[in-house]
Amino acid sequence: MNRPAARRTVDAIWRIEAPKLIAALTRMVRDVGLAEDLAQDAMVVALERWPETGIPDNPGAWLMTVAKRRAIDWIRRNRQRDDKYAELARVSELISEDDMDKALDGEVGDDLLRLVFMTCHPALSREARVALTLRLLCGLTTEEIARSFLTSEPTVAQRIVRAKKTLNAERSSFEMPSGEELAERLSAVLEVVYLMFNEGYAATSGEHWVRPLLCQEALRLGRILAELAPREPEVHGLVALMEIQASRLRTRVGDQGEPVLLLDQDRAQWDRLLIRRGLAALERCRKLGRPLGPYALQAAIAACHAEAPTSEETNWIRIAALYEALSRQAPSPIVELNRAVAVAMAFGPAYGLQIVDEIAGLSALENYHLLPSVRGELLRKLGRYGEARLEFERAAAMTRNVREQELLCARAAECDARSSD
């Protein structure tokens, strides 16, 4: 294997393994920044060795062994120094030989959840938490994070530096909180888990084929959380939402054994098992007898679609009502746009258009091609072909998806023909 090929393979493996490595190492050295450095060291070793030796059968375990050896070396070096410098005693107090044994064969899954709880320390701002999560738990580079949030790379880099410092200064513990503390951090934890899921799902439609694993990891964390905090409706709401959305994400294996992704809107392709699990989670949430929160509402909407045997049998009135509730609890332009479509389907295009027109001027939707797509569709239904054509043309100019572009151009041409009738 040549070097560039090795680099690509190691990168792909890194994205999958990095969060687990960092989580396990954080448990050993109690410093998330140091843990990340040690994990990266292990990857550098892999880059040197693998072109000669080939990729080991279990690359994750290989990386974990190398990284843990480095961590143990680091702990020993520090311990020797501690004998001379009493102020560095923290490490030797915290880490016993027993801990090291445990860390070596410890259960990784729990470590990952501990890391999630750690990144949700109340001393961190939401922005810092998001940046740190994408870096540590989703394996994204600062450049990728900056690009997806339309911010600059130094901003993201500094945010991450700052977040790690805050965690160290707070001596944020790597233990799973319980009781009140768990409840306090829970909404931030749910947000982080959903962020992982989103990242996995979004990247899946792009070029990174490894990302479905991130969705699965987020789902797994969600299911563990549901057992840890069974009385919290939103935990079940989030699990339900992720299960049902994941049911639309199908993967198949290609000729070369590589996973190929199918993002299909065809409901016959949806994974019935995931839908059943999602509906069960939603039921658990409802049984708690409290008004549905934002995750549960989104899950309930997805459930309406999942339960409709055909698209014609969709219960649009119920969906419109759920969006109305969502727009009160977690208002956002994209919720409104969704609500406009649901209202149009339930009560007619004129009512949908009213809602779209209220959000049309918002800067948050400036470059969002689905806004003119929806508006154009509603105008077309109302027979206002001239205006509809303009919207379809605007939408076509905004999207980079070729298939979508063709569809929009065809719509525009159709409206053009009708308006001159």
């Binding site: 998001v130 700052r162 389907m345």
Partner: protein
Amino acid sequence: MRFMLLVKATGCSEAGVPHSREHRFAKEASLASMAEAGVLLAAERLQPSSGGIRMAFSPEGEPELECGPFPADSWLLAEYLVIESESMEEAIGWARRIPAPGGCERMEVELRRLEDKAHGPRNIGLENDLALQLGMLRQD
């Protein structure tokens, strides 16, 4: 949130009078502490306004050009820093760390919050449902 700290020009900065060694060291140390804390995003010094041009745009006609040097008043910049902080209070705290020039004259720093075009995380559930629902709207 991001803040820009606009350090205004002084007679000394305009005349290119070099700062004392102590001041330069204090300045470096203060920038280093900001970078270390994960706060500093950018820090640049401008050349004196003698090399600058001001362009005045009016509704009609060509813009008017004026050559420097310009008066060393509150309009004139000498340096800027961009920092990331949680609040205006915190930003003021960081601005306090910019060492005063000493000897020369008073220094003025203006703090302004930068407009953010950054947005929050995406919500795949909503995007996904929107794509699905738009598909049904088109078929209807």
